[in-house]
Symmetry: C2
Subunit: 335 residues, 2 copies
């Protein structure tokens, strides 16, 4: 009989935590016991899950350490404090969705389709930023085959990046707008209905936002290339839960759209959606709730010529951008 595992989720009441439970179930992860942990505020509540009703337990380091796997879908501050304690000698394997450990050289940052070997015997593994994961899974096979001199990304990011409250604010405030009522904002810096906000996370010294720099820092680490020239403009738009990205690449070797299409058509985690004649291309309404990242609009770059491409990707922010990738990491470990 195959082994099965005790799995704990911290942050199960959020959008990503809930998706982690769903993904574990859908992908038939061998769960022996599922434990949902939270602070006193949520402990005692019962959540309906695909595994049945589950009572949320009060989090303690001791109880989390009894798990085989602990998924963290909580803040970076919480992760920074507790992830090392939970995963210390004799504790659980921790897969952390926050940015707390992503830039720590000692902690692997993993997209399983790209660098599963980075996991090694680490008991703490960082899950990448949503925009990075969605980008990387489609970009990496092109990088491997053709090399990359420059990557320029512009994003169209959904409100789910700010959690369930972000999606709720979009919905509620859009209704206020249409009713001619006052549109307010709490989760976002400005009203989001029928608007866009070209700032996600805090501004850095160099004028980029932290979200934009995450794409640079994390892609470099995941690809194992600390010098990769990659920049991002990160923009929040009024969509619910799929992130889109317009990508321009300059490659080291000549590349054609047909070659890229051929490669992406057989890249695990990517669905090639690139039929202009049928008006088929990646879109949030199709990529939402799908595991695969859609890639399309592939064309020879007008500015980089035969050494460049433009393309467009769209992936579910909560799935490949968070919960799916985290569960895939656990799958690699038990494989």
């Amino acid at each position: 009989m195959d082994k099965s595992y005790k799995v704990g989720i911290i942050g199960a009441t959020g959008a990503v935590g809930a998706a982690m439970i769903q993904v574990l179930h859908d992908r038939k992860f061998p769960v022996a016991e599922l434990h949902l942990f939270a602070s006193e505020r949520s402990a005692g509540k019962t959540l309906i899950t695909p595994y049945g009703g589950k009572t949320v337990e009060l989090f303690s380091v001791e109880s989390a350490r009894e798990m085989d796997f602990v998924f963290l879908a909580v803040s970076g501050d919480f992760a920074k404090e507790f992830a090392p304690q939970i995963s210390a000698e004799g504790g659980a394997i921790v897969i952390d969705n926050s940015s707390a450990f992503r830039y720590d050289d000692a902690i692997p940052l993993v997209v399983p389709e790209i660098n599963p070997e980075a996991i090694g015997d680490s008991k703490l593994i960082a899950n990448p930023n949503c925009t990075t994961a969605i980008l990387a899974v489609a970009l990496y096979p092109l990088y491997k085959k053709f090399g990359l001199k420059r990557v320029i990304v512009s994003t169209y990011q959904a409100t789910s990046g700010a959690g369930a409250e972000g999606m709720e604010e979009l919905k509620t405030e859009t209704a206020h707008y249409l009713a001619g009522e006052k549109v307010s904002n709490k989760i976002f810096s400005y009203p989001i209905p029928f608007n866009l906000i070209p700032q996600i996370d805090k501004f850095q010294e160099n004028g980029y936002t932290k979200e934009e720099m995450k794409v640079t820092w994390e892609t470099r680490k995941i690809f194992g290339n600390p010098n990769l020239a990659i920049s991002c403009t990160a923009v929040r738009i009024p969509t619910f839960r799929a992130h889109s990205e317009a990508i321009t690449i300059e490659t080291e070797k000549p590349i054609t759209p047909a070659e890229a299409q051929e490669i992406l058509s057989r890249t695990p985690g990517v669905k090639l959606v690139d039929n202009p004649e049928k008006q088929e291309y990646p879109m949030p309404i199709n990529a939402t709730k799908q595991y695969d990242v859609e890639a399309g609009r592939i064309r020879q770059s007008l500015v980089f010529g035969e050494n460049g491409l433009d393309f467009f990707v769209c992936g579910d922010q909560i799935l490949k951008g968070a919960a799916l990738n985290a569960v895939q990491i656990a799958e690699v470990i038990i494989a």
Copy 2:
């Protein structure tokens, strides 16, 4: 006494035509007589305008030729057939908002802040594509001072680009979505509420859409540089009437964000909105119904280094993207 002019507008019932009337009035264009022309379907209707109630007249070439200026806010097919007849020897000066003549070497394509001299003594002048006009006004002063080796643009385009019907579809179908009703689409190829569509206009042989190629073709013509390396990814998003654009440039000479800020702060037609510390940057909610194109998020490019910048612009699609630019062309002619 200063001269005043007989002005005709064809397509006054549309979003751009209505804005033309408003802009003529707001900018105190010396209008002696205003005539609104339309087909039999609209002729006889009365429109409320800043000049009072105006009865729409049945269009005829003869009556249009009696004007000093005729603004065309109609289809390219109509323009192709009638603009030459209206502007022929002894007729009116025609300023055409369609794409019918933009790529005709004999017809000037004008952004008044950039190439007013191109008008010469032409009696037919083409108004650029909205995305191009909004881009060009901020890009040109950087091009003049630093040169441009490469320009990469990703757009966030409002539904007004598809006319008043586009905006109406966004509003109506968003209400349907929120009410849990079926969301349909007539103007756009796919449902637009809480979605984006990475296709505007038809696909071309090279995989770019016509909207994307318009940015390339028109920027080259307006800048007088047929070899400018510039590419675009054009994306429709669920906003009403301001287009945003993420722009990455590689310059011939080194450039700093401070230099670009200084130049753009005194560029006519541009409003520098670039205060990260105050969370101030271009956004549709602010650029809507403003004449100036907002420019901000200026930073040294991570991929082009000291010879590159990233920045972000946002401009009203109906104003600088159409009606304002057209009226500015007429202002140059009478100056």
